[in-house]
Assembly symmetry: D2
């Protein structure tokens, strides 16, 4: 008999919607996790908006005070989908209240905060997970499987870019993601965190880092609603504000196993809407992936006979591929939102089996340590050792 888990979700916009959809679908497609989620309460500051979201997404209740939500006795799982500056207080209170906690990435806005969260998590028996959903793309899970099967051999190269283009227009406004005090950083934490997590997951730990960043458009029109919601004074009626995060960041890395890595995260790559692409080259083969073609994995094997060697385009929609037996017949594609269903499914299985979920807050803190080193290097203009998480 499936165990009921009551969910409390904080946040109702982009990520809140994606997580809601996952809770709603997981039991239909993965009926054997052992968990039956109950969509108990969704929480947000704007009463009207959150009440509408509750109705639309299928939550039993809505709330506007997150502290009360995480304190509720009947809540088993707290899922944090708020901006990064709120992760620390929410995660810590939820953990202290004895909840399992899922937290959107990155775990925090800096390493110090992440470590504070981790300290509390380490004292808890509850399960934690950072929502690095791209690990749960079936093609990425297959990539991991191929590596573990030894098909790539010793890894020499990791090469990843996460390219978007939504703020190229200089008139695009100063949204919260462009304000350091709210977002912590620009594409580094938003996009770079994803490819750092994938690198740690697929290649291993990073030893040293050197990076560079820049802000191409330094001033942008203010968004009054944001200023208002923040009680912002700095704006003082000014219509133009300063961008306080980077627009693009690049870094090189030496992994502990000797591999060399390159990373780039930008919001200024015209035509690249969500271009999270990586390539791994090893002694026995290579792998390449692009989120804009997320149902495909490119795989090259040096062990194929010479005259038929070539990158294979594997359409990762077979029953033999990770997660896919739950969905549709071969060749029937899945989409971006499916990664969250997989995430929730894996999290539930961790809860039921009392195993560590992955990536947990420890792994999330390791990502944060790499981001920290990148930020330091961008300032010091030197190679920097990744601090311990």
């Amino acid at each position: 008999m499936a165990k009921q888990l009551n969910i409390g979700l904080i946040g109702y916009s982009f990520m809140g919607k994606a997580h809601s959809n996952a809770f709603r679908k997981v039991s239909m497609f993965f009926p054997d996790t052992g968990v039956e989620p109950v969509m108990k309460v969704i929480c947000g500051r704007n009463r009207e908006a959150v009440s509408r979201a509750a109705a639309q997404f299928g939550w039993e209740e809505y709330a506007t005070n997150w502290r009360r939500v995480v304190a509720r006795e009947d809540i088993d799982v707290v899922d944090i989908c708020s901006p990064g500056n709120m992760h620390k207080p929410m995660a810590i209170e939820a953990l202290k209240a004895g909840k399992h906690v899922i937290c959107e990435k990155p775990l925090a806005n800096n390493l110090t905060e992440a470590k504070e969260i981790l300290k509390v998590a380490n004292r808890s028996d509850q399960k934690t997970m950072v929502a690095f959903n791209y690990r749960r793309v079936p093609a990425v899970a297959l990539a991991r499987q191929l590596i573990q099967e030894g098909r790539i051999g010793q890894i020499y190269h990791w090469r990843a870019v996460y390219l978007q283009d939504w703020i190229i227009d200089p008139d695009f406004p100063l949204v919260w993601r462009l304000e350091k005090r709210l977002a912590g950083s620009g594409p580094l934490g938003d996009l770079g965190a994803h490819i750092v997590d994938l690198a740690l997951h697929l290649v291993g730990d990073i030893d040293t880092i050197v990076g560079a960043d820049t802000t191409f458009i330094k001033k942008r029109p203010r968004v009054e609603s944001i200023d208002a919601s923040l009680g912002a004074k700095g704006g003082g009626g000014k219509r133009i504000g300063r961008v306080t995060v980077e627009d693009a960041t690049l870094f090189l890395a030496r992994f502990k196993n000797g591999a060399l890595g390159s990373f780039e995260a930008t919001r200024f790559a015209a035509g690249r809407r969500n271009h999270n692409r990586f390539e791994i080259n090893g002694s026995k083969g290579s792998i390449a992936f692009n989120l804009e073609k997320m149902n495909e994995l490119q795989y090259y094997s040096r062990e194929d006979e010479e005259h038929v060697q070539g990158f294979r385009e594997i359409i990762v929609n077979e029953g033999s591929h990770p997660y896919m037996s739950a969905w549709w017949p071969p060749g029937h594609l899945v989409g971006w939102e499916h990664t969250f269903v997989h995430e929730v499914k894996d999290f539930f299985e961790a809860v039921v089996s009392n195993q560590k979920a992955s990536p947990d807050f420890k792994e999330g803190t390791k990502v944060q340590a790499v981001l920290e080193a990148v930020g330091q290097s961008a300032k010091s203009k030197r190679w920097v050792k990744v601090p311990r998480a």
Copy 2:
């Protein structure tokens, strides 16, 4: 205030699951259709299986007698996901009972049946729809929009293949889709129907047809469970049965507007899992689509400056693209199952606005007329005029 519509679904396997998912999701992503579907009852012959499906997919009740379901007063919409040989009785009884009817494709196992259904539908005020879901792939809807915007000009060529490979292995058993009395035909009705519908939708009516088909593997191992469920006697303990449908069918067409078309449907194209690909060439440009890359549309314009002409790979994930503003930001892919959500959404809007749904049973009968002509031509080895629907 949204109007509640009670749904009765017949069938609980592949298509039943896909339609269930659509009813479950539609209001979350398209909250403004004016309809709130109630997943009232799911129906199937196998009590245990259908009861499990009801629980898993979220239906209030299950039933095993379809005649009772379509007769229920509280049911507003009947959705038929059974094998083709049952479409006629189910659709006719549902229409006579005053229900709106959605029917999986093809509408019937032959033109005579389809016309009988249509005759009843023509006397009804209720909405009908044949579930040609590929019209609702955003990229296909965009293709239609580009044609209507005049970007392709006069259409000269239609070229479509629907390739699969799931029965290449000679030991693959004699499932119901390989039995003519159940499935009506092989890939012609299963796959060919889809590309014929797309051709009629995107190019226009077909005038004449010439075709050919073949059965590569003529005998296969029987499936005992199917024989049992059919009370089959012919098998008489024999372990090997005769394949009574074609394995592949090809046909050429002349459209009424002068365009030339080619069509191919097969289950013997190794490596092509769900390769529904079409290309349209016109006086001003071209379009190409492949279901295995369903988030992309290829578009070529002769009006681009000469030195920058080329096929554009449009990632059809923008708010400006059909259906997509309801989902996620640009570059966040949708999957195969989304087409059914779009279908249901469009059907609901037709019901609420009292407009014809599309493709309705009239259009479904036109597809059937083309399939009929293909069958005739394969026998007569001549060009055949498509009969009136």
Copy 3:
């Protein structure tokens, strides 16, 4: 010691240039054929143009009377690059004069002519070759090798298109290729001949055929220079002339081995400049090729482990690939013109070793027989048996 062969080439425009380049390059890249070609004489009607071509392409002499060229004692090989209506007299006279003969494709403008040529060739000991150069694309030669290695198994499907778009504009003039008396046919002989040759080469003989063709643009502006060179009277000062060949042709085929085939040749596929694409599906795997990506071959094997199955993109630039050890290191692409170098190299080897060249005039006549059947079927609107060659 290499044997010198004196070459006489008839024609100096597109094909004449391509063949000249091949004779010029062959010994540099294939020094071991046993033949050293001597570019003796190039022949054309327009003295000024052919003399310029002789100088530019590196021929020792030029001539304007083809009969004298083919009769010259010192000429060993006659290479015919004239329009199709001249192939018969030129080939027959060259054969009668004891020359080895290379002839551009198709061998003749109809089957009767081809058979007349073949009758003479059959009485000769000299080598003949029809210049179906696409057999000599390394990727196509590799495709053939994979088939011969048994990697594709029994062939079920052949699917080929040859798409161009150079006459879409209705103002494009009535060049010789649009006049039946000169060109014999439209894309059928020009493009269709290529894909028919590839089908016979890769799949086997064709048994029956059904086809359709059409002319989208029926009248076009005349080209005065062509009219003049032909002494055309029909034009009589008129500026608009009738297109007497088809603009597009499609046909279906049943091969003798049971495979089904589809073919399409058109000059009205906007954006497709030279899109000669074919796909072969067999019981063990598939192959796909596109001339616009001529250094690549797509190959799928059902024998790969299930979770790593996918089409491989083989870059056919390895020393282990046909013809390629003569050129550059891996990944250094070859171009269209290289196919002619390979053709000449293979022809020379046939001469030296006194082996049949391939495709010889017998094979060229078989292609013609298929084209003949297509033409008949387009008229009779029925399936037609391919006549014996």
Copy 4:
């Protein structure tokens, strides 16, 4: 009347063959450069090999002493295709002898050598060119044209990799390219030089650099013939030698115009044979190129209407594209060797018109300055300013 230029070529292996082919073909395809090259003499140390090359490639004479060749009165152009350690003496003597000089890339094995060559070149009136042939890929020339037309706008990002895999096997021997005293560096000078040249050509000057390199396989089997030809003593009969160049190098760059760049050159990317790929993102559009698909250019314009935006795959084979009117009709691909024909053609035009060739030795020295900075940074582990060339 075309001016005859007598060519003396030093080197007869890979590059010697490619340059020979270019001199042989240029007048046939570009008859209007104003130059008629005479393939006078080819020079190499191994008498037997160079004499065979002379015959095979079409040179009038061969020689074994390069000093005599560059001193010959009748030689107008010296073309240097020797290993990098010989570039300096050869280029300087050729310049002093009043010759035009083409030199393979990189110009020298280090910046000091390059500057010494440049000093002599600056005192000469003769034309110089470094053979960065990838500027002459038609698709790359088109990329440059699009930038100059303003289609990309302000450039934000340059991202280039040059990936090969020919030494992944640890048993691959210690060829000259793996010995620092002969090759100067590993992939940095061999592959990195190409992408640095393209970056300077397409984006502009680089201000600062940070880099990293590594040697994955530190010892390899010796090649006796190389040791012998060098009179190497250090080997002393040992069968295993130390690799003295890097196996891979990565670097980040800040361009003077504010753009950020990343570069990677490696010989350890399994499956990437000659994968020279770059992408440029600007305020108005993007461009992407891959040498393994060298006939294609990807181009994205932000100025396309929103619902039809997408990367265009331009097949760069039109008469309207750079260099292409000289070759074949649209869709007839060119290959790698064509870039050298274009190079020679452009060089001849520079000679005839007495204009600077490009890239000349000044530009070649600028590339060298960047490589120098990369090497310094790899050692100092800091950002380094690119020295003045």
